[in-house]
Structures are given as C-alpha cells and as structure tokens.
C-alpha cells in the first residue's frame, strides 16, 4: 500500500513536470493546428538560457525561469516566422515534419555552443522530507508549486486578458475572429511565443530536478506529445489532465512491470483512452 501511495505521489510530481510543456504544445496546436515537434528542442534551449542566467551570471532561480520563458519564446516565434510559416502551404504534415527538422537544428546549435557535458544549476541537492512511509523532495515540492502557479497564470491570461480571449477566438474559428478585427497571424505568433516559452520553463524545471544536456527536452518529447494527445489535442485543461495521467501510469508501471516498459505503457493508455473517447479526455469533437 505504501508503495502504491509513493508511486502516486511520484506520478503527480512527474506529471507536473510534463504538464507545463504539454500546455505549450497544446496551445500551439489549438491556434496553428499542427503538432510542433520542435518543442523538445525549445525546452532544451529554454533550460540553457536559464542555466546561463543562473550559473554564469549568478542570478537567482526565478530570474532564470523568466529568462527561459523569454529565450524559448523568442526562439519559437523566430522559428515560426522564419521557417515554419513558409511551409504552411504544404499543410499541417509538412509543418510538423519541418518542426521536427528545426528541432534537430536547435539541438545541434545548443550542442555546438555548450558542448555535450551535463550541466547542473547552482542549487544544493536536499534529502527528501519523510512523512511516515512516504518521502517527497523539497525541490520537487518547489517544482510542483511553480508549475501550479504557471498553470494558473496561463489560465488567467487566457480567461481574463483581451489578448488571451483573442487567442481563444482564433483557436475556435479563425475566420470569425478575423471578421471581429483580430489579426490571426499576429495572434498565431504570440501563441507560438507563449507556448514555446512554456516549453522552455518545462525544460528548466526538469533541469532543476536533475541536470541538463542537449537532449534534455528531446527525452520528454514523446511523453509530452502523449499527454497532449491523451488530453485532447488543443485542449488546455486536457493537456494538464493528460500529463498527470501519463505521469501516474508510468510510475505505477514500475510496481508491476519492468521499468523498461514504462514508456510503452504510456502509449497503451493512449490507445485505450482514444478507443473509448477519440477526442481525448477533455478534447472537443474532432472537426
């Protein structure tokens, strides 16, 4: 029983780490209608921005997280404006493949500048806090709080600001939004910047918990994609729910099967959920 409870807590915590980039991925999909696979590399780029600010400039972690948001956001917007937008005429598949290729380019630029070595943030590593048979890491609690604050901020931005409302309008119906005076191209760029920025924060949170290297974002790309698909592509609350479910299922897998199968089990969950509910957990009906 203790093992199950511990796995549940571990799952919630790893789900939180997946939720932030999954939010970004889903937001981009909602407005641009293509899966942007460059998010793994953008998460890496964001993590390295944060690392430079924290380790090289000696600034505190919150500033580093903000730098990750700005750095990855700018990189994502530049990528969309400079390359992916031009592939749009080829359809969503062309843009998806283009994003995969651009992700590799970003990853290799990071590798060229920073090398392959693991890099750690300037942060002491604390022992877990033990509550009876359960233990939780202080950094993981910090990450949990940070991720929840970020998710709340994204929700507030989308619900309460005019820019957020315009983004939802473009996601719902771009033609109608245009008639109402919203510039879909501008909104698309803002969405990509915010979505990419969120991925950058996601990469940083993973880095704060472990260490970073040029593949840090690439390693979670599949799980993030799985979380977004599971939640219903384009659904913001769905991405969060999907991330938690994937995180928890992957941890439970370890109790029953060899941990080597945990990623496969994540995909089996997707298969089962989508068979029962093709639009995902919280997604709208496929159009």
């Amino acid at each position: 029983m203790d093992a199950v409870l511990q796995a549940l807590i571990n799952g919630i915590i790893s789900g939180t780490l997946l939720a932030v980039p999954a939010l970004g991925f889903s937001a981009i999909f909602a407005v641009l209608r293509f899966p942007n696979f460059a998010i793994g590399a953008l998460a890496t780029a964001g993590a390295y921005c944060a690392w430079v600010v924290n380790v090289s400039l000696g600034l505190p972690i919150p500033v580093a997280i903000f730098a990750a948001f700005v750095g990855a956001g700018l990189a994502g917007a530049l990528l969309e404006y400079g390359a992916l937008e031009r592939l749009g005429r080829g359809g969503a598949l062309m843009k998806a493949i283009g994003s995969l290729a651009m992700g590799m380019v970003i990853e290799n630029i990071v590798r060229f500048i920073f090398g392959n070595d693991l890099q750690a943030f300037d942060l002491p590593l604390a022992r877990d806090i033990v509550f009876g048979p359960i233990r939780v890491g202080p950094q993981q609690l910090n990450n949990l709080v940070l991720a929840l604050v970020i998710m709340a901020a994204v929700w507030a931005f989308l619900s309460l600001t005019s820019l957020g409302r315009s983004m939802r309008a473009v996601a719902d119906n771009p033609d109608l939004a245009r008639l109402k005076g919203v510039n879909p191209r501008f909104i698309a760029l803002v969405t990509v910047a915010i979505g990419s920025g969120l991925c950058g924060i996601g990469g940083t949170l993973i880095g704060l918990d472990t260490a970073i290297d040029p593949l840090v974002g690439g390693r979670v790309l599949l799980s993030v994609f799985a979380a977004a698909v599971l939640g219903g592509l384009g659904s913001i609350p769905g991405a969060v729910a999907g991330a938690f479910l994937i995180g928890i299922v992957e941890e439970f897998t370890v109790l029953a099967l060899s941990p080597a199968y945990r990623l496969a089990v994540g995909f089996i969950v997707i298969l089962v959920v989508l068979t029962v509910r093709p639009s995902g957990l919280l997604g709208s009906k496929a159009n």
């Binding site: 590798r111 002491p124 590593l125 022992r127 390693r219 109790l255 060899s258």
Partner: protein, 399 residues
C-alpha cells in the same frame, strides 16, 4: 580531320595498354593515399570521449606520414560521428565504406553501435577495431575482421562482483538500463557474489527518464548494501541524485565511462562523494602511454584514447607486414605484429622501420600488451579502481 593510324603506332599503343593491365595490382594502387576511418561518438552519451579519440588518430597518423607513411603511402584519416547511436553509426559506416573506400574503421565505442556496424564491415572486407565491451561482439561470425582492445563485459562483471565483496557488501543490486552487455555483466557479477555467499538483484530502467524515484524505491526495497550502476553518464547522474534524495547510505559502484569528470561536475560534491569506479586501465608508466601523453598534450589520457592510438598503430603495422592495404591484409597480419615474440615496439614509426628491415616485431601499446584471442578479444587487461573524494576522482589502485 584525318587521323594517321599506322601499323607501328597501333602496335606501340597496344603494348602500352597491355603492359598497364599486366602491372601488379599493388603497383597501380600505390598511386593514392591509404584511407582509414574513425567512427567515434562525437555526440551523445559517449560525446565526452569521441572527439579526443578522433584527434588521437589524426595526430598519430600525422607522425606516421611525417616518417614516410605506410608502404611509402600517406595515411588519410576520415572521421565520422556515430552519435552513440546505432542507426547514425550504421549510416556513417556505410559512408566510410562505400564513398570513402576505407580499409579499416577504428574506435567504435558503444557496444550497440559496434554490433550494428560490424556486419557491414566484415561483408565489405573492412577491418574493424573497437573499444566496445559487450561479449556478444566477438561472438559474431566476423571471420577475423574484428579485434577489440576493451576487456569484455564478462570480465568486467566479475571484477565488479569481486570489488563489491572487497568493499564488504553482502547484498548487491545491479541497476542498469538495457544494453547489449547488461545480461552478461549481471550473470558474472551474480556468480562472483553468490560464490562468496552473498545475494544479488537486478533492476532495469528506462534511461530516457528524467526522474527515477520509483525505480530507486523498488531497488531499495531489497535493502542492498551496494549498488552497481550499469548506465552511462546522463542516466547515472539522475540515478545518483535520486539515491541521494532517498537517503541511501550504502556503497555505489559505477563504470569509469559513466562515473567520470562530467558526472562529478554535474553533481554537488556531497552527492557524488565516495562513489567507486572501475575501468580498464591504460598501460600507465609504459613508453606507449607516455607517447600518448606527449601526443595529446594532456596529463592523463583516458583509456579510450590509448586504445584508439593502438588501433591506428596495429592497422598500419599489419598493412606494412602484409605489404597490402586491404582489410583482409590487416586481418591476416595483425596478430603477426602484435604477439608471438619479436622485437618489442610501442609506436608505429619505430615498428614500420623494423618491419621494412624484415625484423619480427611484438607491439605492446598504450592500452596494454595488445595480444588477441582467436575471436578478437584482448587476452590480458588491468583495471583501474578509483573513488570520488572531495569532488575529485582519486586513484585507489591498478590491478
């Protein structure tokens, strides 16, 4: 335009053409340089080692070229990146073989890469020298086209078991990602520990996870007093962090290629404190080793740089001894210059002079004696035992 084509000019031209065709192949081939390839991990998990390995071969080849080359021909080194990834490694190997037409590929590092690349090499008659340890590699039907300077993982597994016992462990857990050598390594570790009355357990994890908390919980459930970590640097860093957080106080043992300076830099000093490692040792103190120190301009070159230095020397000397430049010539002659007595040499420049003079040589290199079994395994190797103390890797012993 009228062409004068007399009987005399026809005969002259024909004789010239016939003479060219009849010329021994070896003479015709002497026109160009000898191409050799390196296939090392410039990126990926092995990225800490590959660039220096490739650099070592270029510098060693430059020395050989300066002294007149092999069979009077220049060595040209073409370096490719296997990305520590079998698919990328295979693509790069095909390019080296099909486009560059190399005679030998040197320095494959990850066992998964070597396993993928090996069949293409022996089917194309290209000689493969590797620093990979998985037992399965030399058991492949390679017809003699593979040698390795890295001790196989059966030996490494046994050494790990013996070392854990030496540290006082009775209950040893092997925690590792799935690699081509996981099973053989664990089997030998288990044999060594159980022979001394201890017990063992194994846990395989997914090396792409950013956290291994639940895996650590699982491994600690058996209350091991020593954990042998079988992963590469990136996932080992995640594992060590999570073991520290879980307040694990037992012994931690890892491979030298995973528990290295990169890992030490990525972890706070108190987290990595006390981890012990073992790795095949370079032949420190020998002239071959000192030569690599001088060649690279660094104080303590790693074992892989020393191994690939031996690869290029062995390949060059075998070609000289066999008076040919093909993979088959290297295969047939490499043991003639590496073992079985003769004048001891530790570098190709000296060795090439002796071979040219018809003297029998016995190459002992920077990584060790370089004597190979029939299937291509190294016969003898020493291990280097080290421990992290105060954020530095300190040598315990070489044995």
């Amino acid at each position: 335009m009228k062409i004068d084509f007399t009987r005399r000019s026809f005969l002259g031209t024909s004789m010239l053409a016939a003479g060219t065709v009849a010329m021994p192949g070896i003479l015709r081939a002497q026109e160009g340089p000898i191409k050799l390839g390196t296939l090392t991990p410039l990126t990926g998990s092995g990225g800490a080692y590959g660039p220096v390995m490739a650099e070592t071969v270029k510098k060693a080849a430059a020395e050989i070229n300066k002294a007149g080359g092999v069979l009077g021909r220049e060595l040209v080194i073409i370096s490719e990146d296997d990305q520590t990834n079998p698919e990328a490694g295979l693509r790069a190997a095909r390019k080296l073989i099909d486009v560059d037409k190399v005679s030998a590929i040197m320095g494959t590092w990850a066992s998964s890469v070597t396993t993928a690349v090996a069949p293409v090499c022996w089917q194309s008659g290209v000689f493969l020298t590797t620093a990979s340890g998985a037992d399965s590699i030399t058991k492949l039907p390679h017809q003699g086209f593979i040698i390795r300077t890295q001790p196989n993982t059966t030996l490494q597994g046994r050494k790990f078991g013996e070392f854990a016992l030496e540290l006082g462990a009775k209950n040893v857990a092997f925690v590792s990602p799935q690699t081509p050598f996981t099973d053989s390594q664990y089997a030998e570790l288990k044999r060594a520990v159980e022979a001394a009355g201890g017990k063992t357990s194994i846990l395989i994890y997914d090396d792409k996870k950013t956290t291994l908390r639940t895996e650590v919980d699982q491994a600690l459930r058996g209350k091991p007093d020593a954990i042998v970590m079988g992963g590469y640097t990136t996932d080992t860093a995640v594992l060590v962090r999570d073991l520290y957080r879980a307040n694990y106080k037992g012994k931690l043992l890892g491979f030298g290629y995973a528990v290295n300076k990169q890992l030490v830099d990525a972890l706070p000093p108190d987290v990595s404190e006390g981890i012990v490692t073992l790795s095949p040792s370079a032949a420190e103190g020998t002239n071959g080793y000192k030569h690599v120190v001088k060649l690279l301009g660094i104080d303590s070159p790693d074992t892989y740089s020393c191994q690939i230095y031996d690869h290029v020397n062995l390949v060059s000397l075998a070609m000289a001894a066999g008076k040919g430049t093909t993979g088959a010539v290297i295969k047939d002659n490499v043991r003639k210059i590496a073992q079985g007595g003769g004048e001891k040499v530790d570098n190709a420049v000296d060795g090439l002079k002796l071979v040219a003079a018809g003297t029998k040589i016995d190459y002992d290199g920077a990584s060790g004696p370089c004597d190979f079994t029939d299937i291509g395994d190294i016969q003898d190797a020493q291990f280097r035992y080290e421990q992290i103390k105060g954020g530095k890797i300190v040598l315990l012993k070489i044995a």
